[in-house]
């Protein structure tokens, strides 16, 4: 796709062995994250977004998970073939992660200070005093009021928004090349969401790192992302730069998604659409295009064959009929 990619993922499969059979949670996807840019993976629950993110760091328990890929390259380094010990050194150092649930992502029995210090100790070689200063500075940067006081607080003494800020400060402490943000605002209320999004945007602008944003919220995507990948049932259905995808979506699924949020394509007073049906059971996937059973435009070919990704300049779409439909 391009040369200045920080992360290149080629042909990634993640399968879970369950008693009912093998669940193909991620089914052969390719994507790139360019240096200093934010890529959002969008999709419904269960489409494989989070699994994709976790598989990059090999954080999935295997078994039952089985990860296979042609290659996963971080800045030219093949991280797919690293040993567990080597990948551990990448975690938190080159690739950091922010989780969905700030309320439970901090260890309840330790003060913030201890948890932050530990991250610094593992990934930098500052002395104790420098670490403390760096921590308080980091807390201040992410907008924690009275950082000296919050630094010695326990997680239960902080609100959800503050905890997410602490998580962000911790994730950024090692100056990672890539930040994976797995639904960073889902568990927060709307005003705090806005603050956290603004903070994230400011942090990526300042540090020049790349971000992999996992979300189901096109509002968040529109706010933060520069490139978008839309996933459906373990496959990529469309990708491209934010504005192209948002304003001229090619795939019927992307269109339907965007039509279900107010203000993007649906104008004030217009009617929001909903996508009928349910996400297919990954154990009983349709034979053809995975979206075909719910797609209003599907024809006989769609239910028979699986569409490949077709690239039009920097946009890609996996649909047989996109040309006639646009």
């Amino acid at each position: 796709m391009s040369d200045n990619a920080l992360l290149e993922v080629r042909d990634l499969y993640v399968q879970f062995a369950t008693p009912e059979g093998i669940v193909p949670a991620v089914d052969g996807i390719d994507f790139d994250i360019k240096k200093g840019r934010t890529l959002a993976i969008v999709g419904e629950s269960g489409c494989g977004k989070t699994v994709t993110a976790l598989s990059l760091l090999k954080l999935l328990k295997s078994p039952p998970a089985k990860i296979t890929a042609d290659s996963i390259k971080l800045d030219g380094l093949d991280i797919y073939n690293l040993s567990p010990n080597e990948i551990r050194k990448i975690r938190g150092k080159d690739i950091s992660m922010i989780f969905q649930e700030p309320m439970t992502s901090l260890n309840p029995v330790f003060r913030i200070s201890k948890q932050m210090n530990e991250v610094y100790k593992t990934h930098t070689n500052l002395n104790n005093k420098q670490i403390q200063e760096a921590c308080i500075e980091a807390l201040r940067t992410v907008g924690v009021p009275e950082p000296e006081k919050k630094y010695v607080a326990y997680p239960h003494e902080l609100s959800g928004g503050l905890r997410q800020r602490v998580m962000i400060a911790m994730a950024l402490s090692s100056k990672p090349k890539l930040l994976i943000a797995d639904e960073p605002t889902t568990a927060l209320d709307v005003t705090v969401q806005a603050q956290i999004l603004m903070l994230l945007r400011r942090m990526c602008q300042n540090s020049g790192m790349s971000v992999l944003l996992i979300t189901h919220d096109f509002g968040v995507v529109a706010d933060l992302a520069e490139d978008v990948v839309v996933m459906y049932a373990g496959k990529i259905v469309e990708f491209g730069p934010l504005n192209t995808v948002l304003y001229s979506p090619k795939h019927p699924y992307t269109k339907a998604l965007i039509d279900s949020i107010p203000g993007l394509r649906v104008k004030r007073g217009g009617r929001l659409n909903s996508i009928t049906g349910m996400v297919p059971n990954l154990l009983r996937l349709p034979e053809g295009c995975r979206f075909a059973p719910r797609c209003s435009q599907a024809n006989e070919k769609c239910t028979r064959l699986q569409p490949e990704i077709e690239q039009i300049s920097d946009q890609g779409v996996a649909c047989f009929r996109w040309r006639e439909l646009n």
Binding site: L59, F99, E101, A153, L162, M170, T191, M198
Partner: protein
């Protein structure tokens, strides 16, 4: 970017971003302070601590309270003196030894045994439980089947069998009680670890690149400490009792050595003629076991965050 737009952007970020509205700092009270406060509200637990403190103090500084040696000062003219005799407040035993002094010195042995056994069973049990619960798989199966085997035997029968093999001595009592005692700790710890390792903050610490050992002992274990501490405390009382039982059965220390269980054993012959020989060691055992149990119960309530008001 022009100056104006820059200004506008700066203005935007300044006005909206630092607005952490309504997030005033809460009064910070440390976890341990909270626990201590709750513990102090439990009357029985406080009484337990009180009794235990006095007992430990008197046992450690036994020479301050009695001038008699518990073993050597045998006065055969003063056999079986009753309670309240001028020199011997709690009377003397069948060999004319001062009972009060034997109880004090005997307490050293009993309490120390309780403490040592409790600590070692905890260390071994917690270590094995951690590894078992964290790694799972065949390791878990292996350790847990061993635990099952140990727990399948009645406690005292197993202890007697091991004691018989090792030979009588206080050291062997400790060893036996450790061998018999660790499996329940391992099982308790494993259960805790199993549920804790699925927590999000553990996933987060994995994503931060910490090692298995670090996550296991410094991230998961501290969260599991509360029930372990409670069990260890209760175990001290239980161990005092078990050690006394083994000694009572004559499997333990040399019968001249003061130990509460041994004293009870010797007092059997005089149960009717001189009941104070068995009453006082019995009371000593009961009191210390009871107060350790009260402390354990109090700790359990204090450490349980769901009790927080």
């Amino acid at each position: 970017m022009s100056e104006v737009t820059k200004k506008i952007q700066e203005h935007e970020t300044e006005t909206i971003d630092p607005g952490i509205i309504g997030e005033e700092s809460l009064p910070i009270s440390s976890m341990w302070k909270d626990i201590l406060r709750r513990f102090r509200h439990n009357r029985l637990a406080v009484i337990g601590v009180f009794i235990m403190t006095i007992t430990i103090f008197m046992c450690i500084s036994a020479p301050l309270f009695t001038k008699f040696d518990p073993v050597l000062d045998m006065q055969l003219m003063n056999r079986l003196l009753p309670v309240g005799s001028p020199e011997h407040i709690l009377g003397t035993d069948d060999l004319g030894r001062d009972i009060f002094s034997r109880i004090l010195y005997g307490g050293r042995v009993s309490l120390l045994t309780g403490l040592i056994v409790s600590i070692f069973t905890m260390i071994i049990g917690v270590f094995i439980g951690c590894i078992s619960g964290y790694f799972g798989g065949w390791l878990d199966n292996f350790f847990m089947r061993i635990v099952d085997i140990f727990l399948a035997f009645p406690f005292l029968v197993l202890a007697i069998a091991i004691m018989a093999a090792l030979g009588p001595s206080q050291k062997n009592i400790i060893l036996t009680l450790v061998i018999v005692g660790w499996p329940s700790f391992a099982r308790l710890t494993r259960g805790q670890i199993l549920s804790l390792k699925e927590k999000e903050y553990i996933e987060a610490s994995k994503a931060s690149g910490f090692s298995h050992a670090r996550i296991m002992f410094f991230h998961i274990l501290p969260n599991a400490l509360a029930p372990i501490i409670v069990m260890a405390t209760l175990r001290i009382g239980g161990t005092i009792m078990s050690a006394a039982s083994l000694n009572f059965l004559g499997l333990g220390v040399d019968s001249s050595l003061p130990e509460w269980g041994v004293m009870l054993n010797q007092a059997r012959d005089y149960m009717t003629s001189a009941p104070h020989l068995s009453i006082f060691p019995g009371v000593a055992i009961s009191l210390s076991v009871l107060s350790m149990n009260w402390i354990g119960d109090g700790l359990r309530d204090a450490l349980d965050p769901r009790m927080r008001k």
